[in-house]
């Protein structure tokens, strides 16, 4: 058991040891604070860049396995050094800038894209007491900083001075803005029930175990499950992934706002997208899957930050799995789905959460909130699926 306790507090102990070491050399207090902040920032960014490298190869391998092929297995054992190879390729590739492009805006776009992706990592609770920035409005900070990506997408689109880019950028911004609403509402639902906007408090609120072994995560409540699915779908749209990657739709928009980028700038966009995906997975885990809480009481010996990164890996896996399955949405379907299905459903989740809370959180409350969420789901769902009713194909000639 001792080993697990050691592991649990390993990161913070390491930092304390190093800071005390420096204090021994008479380093002033404020400088110590700056150094420890820099160390924390360094490790967080290092961990997420490591996750980015690992995920870029795992994505290709999982997509391959789904299509019954191997995926990259040449560079290093099981292809695990593929990101190194991609990195070298990206760095050595020529970095083209269109002659008539708006040089400054073209150059700044990847930087402005990368800043929010990294800043957003500050508020995620990685473990018990391991939160880089203890903000009591952490969730609001997440969305406030996340709004910066839209500016970056526009700058990328506008800076490349090419029609496809501007169209791709406008579509991407329209998609991100219209999916930001369900994203924020489903986060607010959790904040309302947990009673605070601070991620650490939200994770604390999910620490209880009902009947001894069912974890008190919000995803296991009816309104929480719906809010989690809505948050998940909106997260996919927010990070321009899989069914919502219309802006980079190869078929019609070449590569959307990324058309005129190559070399290291493209690698930065690629990195920002993945780090953004991990950050929003982290937020989903914090809000709905109980952050660093262990799923079963006796499992709490396993270090808390293992649970957090395990759950983030699982959610990231499902995002790749969704990418392997679902086709890309057309722009008007995408918009209708956001405004006419996701928004009403998030209001329904809002009401269901309120009903669940004020009905005493007991079995009656569960039934009530399940009804409040289920009924609009079926009505809206069938209203839309009826329109695209898919009957099995009738082959005229082969019969």
């Amino acid at each position: 058991m001792k080993f697990f306790d050691l592991l649990e507090t390993a990161p913070s102990d390491l930092l304390k040891w190093f800071v005390n070491l420096l204090a021994g050399y008479g380093v002033p207090a404020w400088l110590l604070a700056v150094i420890s902040a820099v160390i924390i920032i360094g490790t967080v960014i290092g961990v997420f860049l490591g996750l980015f490298a690992l995920c870029s190869v795992m994505e290709r391998k999982i997509l391959a396995r789904v299509q019954n092929r191997y995926g990259p297995n040449r560079v290093g054992p099981f292809g695990l050094f593929q990101p190194v190879a991609d990195g070298i390729k990206m760095i050595t590739k020529e970095d083209l800038v269109p002659r008539s492009a708006d040089k400054i805006v073209h150059f700044l776009a990847p930087v402005v894209m990368m800043i929010p992706a990294l800043m957003v990592l500050a508020i995620l609770p990685y473990g018990r007491g391991m939160v880089p920035a203890e903000l009591d409005a952490g969730i609001l900070y997440f969305f406030a900083v996340g709004a910066g990506t839209e500016v970056a997408v526009f700058m990328a689109g506008w800076g490349s001075n090419n029609k496809y880019s501007v169209m791709g950028a406008m579509r991407a911004i329209a998609q991100m803005v219209s999916y930001e609403l369900p994203l924020i509402i489903s986060a607010v639902v959790v904040a309302m029930i947990a009673g605070s906007l601070s991620p650490a408090a939200i994770v604390e609120a999910q620490g209880t175990f009902a009947f001894g072994f069912i974890p008190g995560w919000y995803v296991l409540t009816p309104w929480g499950f719906v809010a989690c699915i809505l948050f998940y779908i909106a997260a996919l749209a927010e990070s321009n992934r899989s069914p919502f990657d219309l802006p980079e739709g190869e078929s019609e928009l070449v590569a959307g706002h990324l058309t005129e980028y190559s070399g290291f700038k493209y690698a930065t966009f690629f990195m920002a997208e993945y780090v953004g995906m991990f950050a929003i997975c982290g937020l989903l885990v914090t809000l709905f899957l109980g952050g660093w809480q262990a799923p079963l009481p006796f499992l709490t010996i396993v270090p808390s930050w293992c649970w957090f990164f395990g759950k983030v890996a699982f959610v990231a896996f499902t995002m790749i799995w969704v990418r392997a399955t679902l086709p890309r949405l057309r722009i008007d379907h995408l918009m209708t789905f956001a405004w006419k299905f996701m928004l009403p459903m998030s209001f329904a989740a809002f009401l269901a959460a309120a009903a669940w809370h004020y009905a005493g959180r007991g079995p009656l409350a569960w039934a009530l909130s399940a009804v409040i969420v289920g009924v609009p789901y079926f009505i809206l769902g069938n209203h839309f699926t009826a329109k695209f009713a898919v009957s099995n194909r009738r082959y005229q000639f082969s019969e």
């Binding site: 008479g26 002033p28 404020w30 708006d102 400054i104 805006v105 903000l135 009591d136 409005a137 609001l140 900070y141 969305f143 406030a144 900083v145 709004a147 910066g148 839209e150 500016v151 526009f154 700058m155 506008w158 501007v166 406008m170 911004i173 803005v177 930001e180 605070s196 906007l197 601070s198």
Partner: protein, 182 residues
């Protein structure tokens, strides 16, 4: 080296810390100047976005975190995008700044009134005794308290703003919608 370190420590760090708020304020003023003066409209709009971000950071530095985040979310996320899209949709001829904003004698009047106003304001600011109060310690504006205030004391204004925003949303959509030719 050690006494240098001692002297360095002895500096009144907490007082200096208070002046740090001028850093984002300076960035904001520069960006605002850029937004006003730049001929290329898109560069002006991006400078405006930078000034919004810097204003948000000033609010956070002054301790009002909630307002800073709301400012970032509302202005950078929505208003800046609206302005940039409006610029794209209206495709003004001087996008590349063919005609300088200060061409001709028009702007002289504007700049003069601006300067006069500035002098008047600064005169009042630097003469009024109340403005000389030193900066008190950092007040805590917890989100929970703001939430309670919003929901309890300011619930009527909150609903009014809600109605106003909905009306504005629908109004803007109706105004800007292409009226379908019959």
């Amino acid at each position: 080296m050690n006494d240098l370190l001692q002297k360095f420590n002895a500096l009144p760090w907490d007082a200096i810390g208070q002046w740090l708020v001028l850093l984002p304020a300076g960035v904001m003023l520069l960006a605002a100047a850029g937004a006003v003066a730049l001929r290329n409209l898109i560069h002006a709009a991006l400078c405006l976005t930078l000034s919004f971000i810097a204003l948000g950071i000033v609010f956070i530095a002054l301790g009002a975190e909630f307002v800073g985040f709301v400012q970032l979310l509302v202005y950078v996320g929505a208003v800046a995008m609206l302005i940039v899209f409006a610029i794209l949709l209206t495709r003004p001829s001087d996008l590349a700044g063919a005609m300088s904003p200060f061409a001709g004698f028009g702007p002289v009047g504007g700049i003069l009134t601006g300067a006069a106003l500035l002098i008047a304001l600064l005169a009042f600011i630097f003469s009024s005794p109340a403005a000389k109060t030193p900066m008190p310690s950092m007040p805590v504006a917890p989100v929970a308290q703001i939430g309670n205030l919003l929901m309890l004391d300011f619930v009527v204004p909150l609903q009014a703003v809600g109605v106003l925003l909905t009306a504005a949303l629908i109004g803007a959509a109706v105004l800007a919608m292409e009226d379908k030719k019959p």
